[in-house]
């Protein structure tokens, strides 16, 4: 991912509406994002575009992930 594109994504992860997501996404970017391949990074960027409550319910396991493309990244987010 290009620097500018990454920094934009980073800003959109570290300034969420909900504190829970600020923490969870910042941690994921710092610890796991670099290990993803380009396609997985793209999937993560799509997830980060979700509404805050929807994404938090997915990460906290209060909602099931029904999209098979997202499931592997959601599983990583839950463990991070």
């Amino acid at each position: 991912m290009e620097r500018a594109e990454y920094e934009r994504l980073r800003w959109r992860c570290i300034r969420r509406a909900l504190l829970e997501l600020d923490i969870a996404l910042t941690r994921f970017l710092d610890e796991q994002f670099d290990q993803l391949n380009a396609e997985q990074q793209q999937v993560f960027a799509e997830l980060a575009d979700m509404e805050d409550h929807d994404l938090w319910y997915l990460i906290s396991g209060q909602a099931e992930c029904e999209d098979s493309r997202y499931a592997p990244i959601v599983a990583l987010l839950r463990k991070s």
């Binding site: 620097r3 500018a4 920094e7 934009r8 980073r10 800003w11 959109r12 570290i14 300034r15 969420r16 509406a17 909900l18 504190l19 829970e20 997501l21 600020d22 923490i23 969870a24 910042t26 509404e51 805050d52 409550h53 990460i59 906290s60 396991g61 209060q62």
Partner: protein
Amino acid sequence: MSIPVLKFDAVIVGAGGAGLRSAIQLSEAGLKTAVLSKVFPTRSHTVAAQGGVAASLGNSEEDHWHWHMYDTVKGSDWLGDQDAIEFMCKKANEVVVELEHYGMPFDRTDNGKIYQRPFGGHMSNFGEKPVRRSCAAADRTGHAMLHAMYQRNVKANTQFFVEWMALDLIRDVDGAVIGVTAMEMETGQIVIFHARAVIFATGGAGRIYHSSTNAFINTGDGLGMAARAGIPLEDMEFWQFHPTGVAGAGVLITEGVRGEGGILRNSSKERFMERYAPNAKDLASRDVVARAMATEIKEGRGCGVNKDYVLLDITHLDPATIMKRLPGIREISIQFAGVDPIKEPIPVVPTCHYQMGGIPTNYYGRVVVPQGDSLSVEIPGFYAAGECACASVHGANRLGTNSLLDLLVFGKSAGDSAVADLKSGLAHRELPKDAADFSLARVDAINNRKGGASVFEARQAIARTMQDHAGVFRFGDMLKKGAAQILEVEKQAKSLEIKDKSQVWNTARIEALETENLIEVAKATMISAEARKESRGAHVRDDAPDTPEFPNGRNDKEWLKHTLFYSADNSIKYKGVNLQPLSVETVALKTRSY
């Protein structure tokens, strides 16, 4: 250097509830309106508000705005201005119904009316019994509100500048506010927004505390801008805390955990609430529990390496009960505390939640400051609303569901005032030649400084200093130390160095600029808190205890007044509380008890 100038009738800084509400008034009046926001509007922190919005609609049982007003004055511990409180409570029904017309999906009763639920502190008949006054949209009230208002703004042609950070207020030689400087994050370009009216709706600054429920975005940018422009900050010593946030993270652990049998323990595993509240124990009220926790920590009985938290123990509960009755708590604990609460207790600490003080305004949403013989002179062209403003309706303590009401009523009021002023001739004033110089110098210093402090360390220093010295329960000696220490931290926060020198998408630079705002709020809070030698509402000192002469430690004879803190020389002025409502009798002073 030539700086681009964008000209608007009105510029609103912040696109949360208050900003969006005021923008509707301006755009629908046909005025050219810009809204600047660090994030997409529906990512503003208003999203996190779940409780609902208070309005005495009386849909479920009899209710009246006057009862709501009484509750709010009492909640404020009589520090709220009674004209502003009457104005807000009276306007509540109107702004809630308007929101319904904008498409807000409120919960409904069987007969189709807005469903209302009870909420702490809201009573019928002047404090007699709880009343159903809160209007909500499931657990997404704030979020649904932002969506409805954003759509309305799009329809009204409000121009949004998303991922822009406002830097400084521009005032002319007469002190009138004539615009702001702002930076586009994508390009790093600094631009002047030249306006006839500027409305601040930048939210709170809960990130000054180490443990905070506030999202990272709440860095008090509007307060920092106001403070740098010579405008005092009002009643900044008053912050609402929640007793149980996850230590180190701030994420809330609901009070329901104690309701289900959770027990608070100190480092020797003692159930310490037995000493502070022998009957209610862990189920004592929020403030009693938070104060007990703070005392345990201060007296060295906290847990962990730094002895800076206590434990919330539910290991004795049946795991099935935890899963069924406390959904999400196990996940939160595992994610943010790293412990499974079925097996180990959760580290918790009193956690900052809401800022009662802010930029001083009247109930018209106009910013007012001392000038000459008067303590409340309006600054031409400057308005503020929502958590960044202090009208003052929350006084020393806010009632739940009054924050969403505040941002609707005063967002609208600030918008209406700006419209009225613009229609009656408030014109663009000439931009000084050096309008952007101050901002350019600040940004240049951050870009080019060598050997300065790191942003991370400065933020840690601010947050730790505030948490340790001006937390939920305050001690005279700690406040004194804190007031000296925060001035040292200020030097650090005003000499930041960043490693990333990129022009485009430089988030390190944005975080440095935010830090310069945080320190203004932290300093105002600490020095104002040290100076107020009484206990009132959320400001509780151990050296101002409950006595027959001063019930709850409140001293109306000396301290029934608002603090106005000036950053330039760290000085304080005081102004009296307005005890005169608009149309009804004063809610007479009495001891606040529930």
